[in-house]
Amino acid sequence: MFSVESALIALGGGVLIGAAASIFLLFNGRIMGVSGILSQALTLGPLNTRWTWLFLLGLVFGPVVSDAFLGTSQPVFAERSLWLTIVAGFLVGFGTSIGSGCTSGHGVCGISRLSNRSIVSVFVFMGTGMLTVFVMRQVGGL
């Protein structure tokens, strides 16, 4: 549940995310957007570069390093039906691809550089997400 302590931990996590985005921009000159990097990693040809896979490798091992050093633990996984998992994953992949970004690219980096496209995107996906949860809790009993 929500408490001052959980807010401070959340803030600390946020600062780490912002620091990662800043380090990436400072050294490599790129926007740290996960959906874009994943898409680039899965592209054949000159756009496919080794750094995309190394970024994803780091991302995947981040939680276990955090568990070892920051005292976090394995999350409680969502209990969803198979079809809901597939539909949700598909919508996230399709939507972030045609919408040119997700929570990291539009949300963190885009807002930070005051991109009008990103600010609109964040309002739309956050609003839609909230509406979806509302409808699911009313209708689906999630």
Partner: protein, 140 residues
Amino acid sequence: MRNLLALLTGLIFGMGLSLSEMINPDRVLGFLDILGAWNPALAFVLGGAVLTSMICFHFILKQPHPLLDKQFYMPTKTQIDRPLIVGAVLFGMGWGLYGYCPGPALAALVYLEPSTFIFVAAMIAGLFLARLWTARKNKS
């Protein structure tokens, strides 16, 4: 060196997602549930992240070039077009249905939970279908 920095960035990002509980789908849904049992913790995650990067970006983007490259690679589009909106709507629906956006979904793979793999596989399928769809639309 650039590769090493990418690895380090991914690692710090993944640690941040874990510490902030973004990789806990029910925590994310609790944040999106503003009309129910709203848990505002994730607002602090986005707040902390945006505040940190906004201050840093301000100074970084004043440099002539990044430390390890000749130029910054910044998005060039500025127009708010239909794909941006439609994409954000569909993404928001998927996010609200499950509680994962792309970063946390990939980070959570390390715990080897089968449902995470199914989610990521569906996400990649969606990515490829979007590419086909965009390619077809650009042709016509």
